[in-house]
């Protein structure tokens, strides 16, 4: 049942030009970035060749590409997630799901998975660029895999946050803005830490960015995975609670 809802959600995304537009624009920008990054590498390569333990193509081309993608997707994702529930509520189609024999959990998980599938498609398109480098050179497969995994987890977390935010309001734009606000807040939350030594480790721990960056460095740590999984679970639970509560208060 979850998959029925998820697949419907995914197909719905492609019924509007928005999904296509986002895919096209992102791919264009990231391809440009990728090529300019590749140029830089070509320039540096003769000098790097002489240095022992110098950063390779993965560090110079792939890591910055993934990092920028992460940030760009964070800016674009609210446009995708905003209508998940707010549109349904606005068009009164949520009734269809609520009166069907499916639970709130099915509905929220279905929506979340649908959005996540879409993000994974974006990720696959994106991954095609670094993978194309295999034609001419070899990459640090471990680093690439860990970077892609980090981006996948980041995107799933963004999807969960977006789905919850969309369940809060009938206005898609309000949902988009508040999603963007929360995501940016989580992205920059550790910026204040440098100036104040006394602040505990809490703020950096909460930051989406610090965890993402350790994946990009090729560090696969369970703490980072757990952070994303906790974030996803928290917002999905909040989404389920929100739908339940709406049934109670009307």
């Amino acid at each position: 049942m979850i998959f029925t809802i998820a697949i419907r959600e995914l197909k719905n995304l492609f019924l509007s030009p928005l999904a296509w537009a986002i895919m096209a624009v992102l791919q264009l920008i990231l391809a440009y970035l990728f090529l300019s990054q590749l140029d830089t590498f070509m320039l540096l390569q003769p000098r790097l060749a002489g240095i022992e333990g110098a950063p390779g193509v993965t560090d110079i081309v792939v890591a910055p590409l993934l990092q920028t993608s992460g940030f760009l997707l964070l800016l674009v994702a609210p446009a995708i997630t905003m209508r998940v529930f707010s549109d349904e509520r606005r068009n009164r189609t949520l009734t269809l799901l609520l009166s069907a024999p499916v639970s709130m959990t099915d509905i929220v998980l279905g929506k979340f998975l649908g959005i996540t599938f879409f993000f994974m498609l974006l990720l696959a398109l994106l991954a095609a660029m670094p993978l194309a480098l295999y034609a001419g050179t070899t990459l640090d497969a471990g680093k690439l895999a860990s970077g892609l995994l980090g981006l996948a987890l980041l995107l799933a977390a963004i999807a969960a946050i977006g789905v919850f935010m969309s369940s809060l309001t009938e206005q898609p734009v309000v949902a988009a803005i508040s999603t963007l606000g929360l995501l940016l807040m989580l992205w920059i939350i550790d910026w204040s830490v440098d100036s104040q030594e006394s602040v505990t480790d809490l703020l950096p721990y909460l930051s989406l960015k610090t965890h993402f960056e350790s994946f990009l460095k090729g560090l696969f740590s369970t703490a980072d995975v757990a952070y994303y999984l906790l974030l996803i679970a928290t917002f999905l639970l909040l989404g389920i609670r929100r739908l339940d509560q709406q049934r109670l208060t009307g």
Partner: protein, 316 residues
């Protein structure tokens, strides 16, 4: 036919904040019944229907669908319901076929029966020729029919229709009414509407809800009996003579409405034939002779327009 109870609602309450929208509503619906749910705007019709369909949680009370408690086992209970809310819950970006297949999947219609169920629902609601069109491009009437198709798709035991004939043209209304009567034979149907003749045309039971409480609940047969008139309306071309009419057997009193019009009150059997004979004998020239029926509309107005102080006294 000793039909089984499909819906049983016990002491249903619903508050919106401090506002009591539905108060102590009790009723039952058996298989083969079509229940007409009447009430002025804001009386609590839609709220009650939303609660029965599981879209809204009741503040207190119990709802059994086909013997399954809606609050204890919502998934199983909801499988027995088809619900059309006031606004049909249709996705404008989908074609009729895509939408109905999705609904069939949501309602767990097994893969083998899915296309059969969709075809049957489309056929019943007259949607066959628009299967491939986008719902958003269809007229309001067709969208409404897609909504109805969605509600009956999985042959639920109970079909709940909130104002199903809104926005339809007269021919479509007739089709939908015929469909409701047909469905009513094998399912239990709850129907809310503002259109009183619709209730008389389709329903086997009538309930009127006013300010959140049920004020009237009767079967159509009882209602018909109650509405049976004891007044004849007579109009003639020439001047009427009261005394001649009062002499007729069966007529209790004559109430003059003008020189050539009168209301004739009677008790037991309809004396229309005697009246007609009398008019003919005196050569008054019959223009109209009809039963002055009390309509459901009058019952409705009597129950829902009574000043609110009375209901307040009852609650106090």
């Amino acid at each position: 036919m000793d039909a089984k109870t499909l819906i049983s609602v016990e002491q249903l309450y619903r508050y919106y904040g401090h506002h009591l929208a539905v108060e102590a509503v009790d009723f039952e619906l058996a298989q083969g019944e079509v229940l007409g749910f009447l009430g002025p705007n804001g009386a609590g019709k839609s709220t009650t229907m939303q609660m029965i369909s599981g879209n809204l949680a009741p503040s207190a009370g119990r709802i059994l669908i086909n013997g399954i408690d809606l609050l204890d086992a919502p998934k199983r209970a909801k499988a027995e319901i088809g619900y059309l809310p006031e606004q049909p819950p249709v996705y404008r970006d989908l074609t009729v076929d895509e939408y109905l297949y999705y609904c069939a999947k949501l309602h767990r219609v097994s893969k083998g029966q899915r296309s059969q169920a969709v075809t049957r629902a489309k056929h019943r609601c007259g949607l066959a020729e628009v299967s491939k069109r986008l719902i958003g491009n269809l007229s309001k009437g067709f969208q409404q029919r897609v909504g109805i198709a969605q509600a009956i798709l999985h042959s639920p035991a109970v079909v709940i229709l909130d104002e199903p004939t809104v926005g339809l043209d007269p021919n479509q209304i007739r089709d939908i009414r015929a469909l409701i009567r047909e469905l009513g034979e094998s399912h239990g149907i709850i129907l809310s509407t503002h259109i009183l003749p619709e209730v008389q045309a389709t329903c086997s039971h009538v309930q009127i809800i006013h300010q959140g409480r049920l004020v009237f609940s009767e079967s159509m047969q009882d209602l018909e009996r109650r509405l049976t008139s004891h007044v004849l309306l007579l109009e003639t071309r020439e001047r009427l003579d009261d005394t001649e009419l009062e002499k007729l057997a069966g007529i209790d009193s004559v109430e003059r409405l003008g020189d050539t019009r009168a209301r004739l009150h009677f008790e037991d059997s309809n004396p229309a034939d005697a009246v007609a004979a009398c008019v003919a004998r005196h050569d008054w020239g019959l223009v109209e002779l009809s039963l002055d029926r009390q309509t459901l509309e009058q019952v409705f107005v009597d129950l829902t327009c009574s000043d609110t102080s009375e209901t307040h006294r009852k609650t106090a």
